[in-house]
């Protein structure tokens, strides 16, 4: 069974440019998370989807960040415009859903804003 797939693995952009990250969750997983991980820190939740509905986006900086999950499968996270402080690893995770199942993580996208 394929795991959570994220692309690209690495991205370097200049500040003020837009950037997008893509996530393909494990087949059949209803729950999808996007996390931000700064160096030496734990993952911080940005948004959680249940199927195609964003059930918690309270931590998503909506002035520059947006996300979508078309048809409740793949998801895209976008930043426009990027700032130097956005340099981090962006992690996607999926879960079968329900209240007691663990999340399976992709390898992440390392973003560097210069």
């Amino acid at each position: 069974e394929a795991g959570v797939v994220q692309s690209p693995r690495y991205k370097i952009i200049e500040k003020k440019q837009p950037v997008a990250f893509w996530c393909n969750p494990i087949s059949g997983h209803n729950t999808l998370y996007w996390y931000l991980q700064n160096l030496g820190q734990g993952p911080e939740l940005l948004i959680r989807y249940e199927n195609e509905e964003a059930v918690d986006d309270s931590q998503l900086p909506k002035d520059r960040f947006s996300a979508e999950r078309l048809k409740g499968v793949d998801s895209t996270l976008k930043i426009q415009p990027a700032e130097l402080g956005d340099s981090a690893v962006y992690l996607c995770a999926s879960s079968p859903g329900g209240i007691n199942t663990e999340a399976f993580f992709g390898q992440g996208t390392r973003l560097t804003v210069v």
Binding site: V4, P43, A93, I99
Partner: protein, 114 residues
């Protein structure tokens, strides 16, 4: 809001020594607890989880953790560590109920020395 505290940011130990990584969570009626491991430039991998039942949970790679409700703790232990256990370890909590997010602590870096 639920929170997780990992009391030690770094834990250096010698190979074959025992280790304990500490985790405390803010109290809730019911929680589900997880330990994840992250190797350099990788995503997070589940070590073990507590959902209900026995408070002593065994995971992969010889790790175990004990859920202590009265102390709101979920400490991770291994009786004898190997060089290959060098990694970052994250404790995570999910509130019971369908609205629960998976919230992480800041992590503990375990360094195993020969």
């Amino acid at each position: 809001a639920q929170s997780v505290t990992q009391l030690d940011s770094q834990v250096p130990v010698f190979e074959e020594a025992p280790v304990e990584l500490r985790c405390n969570y803010s109290s809730s009626v019911s929680v589900y607890l997880f330990w994840y491991v992250q190797y350099p430039n990788q995503g997070l991998q589940l070590l073990l989880k507590y959902l209900s039942g026995s408070t002593l949970v065994k995971g992969i790679n010889g790790f175990e953790a004990e859920f202590n409700k009265s102390q709101t703790s979920f400490h991770l232990r291994k009786p004898s560590v190997h060089i290959s256990d060098t990694a970052e370890y994250f404790c995570a909590v999910k509130n019971g109920g369908s609205q629960g997010n998976l919230i992480f602590g800041k992590g503990t870096k375990l360094s195993v020395k020969p």
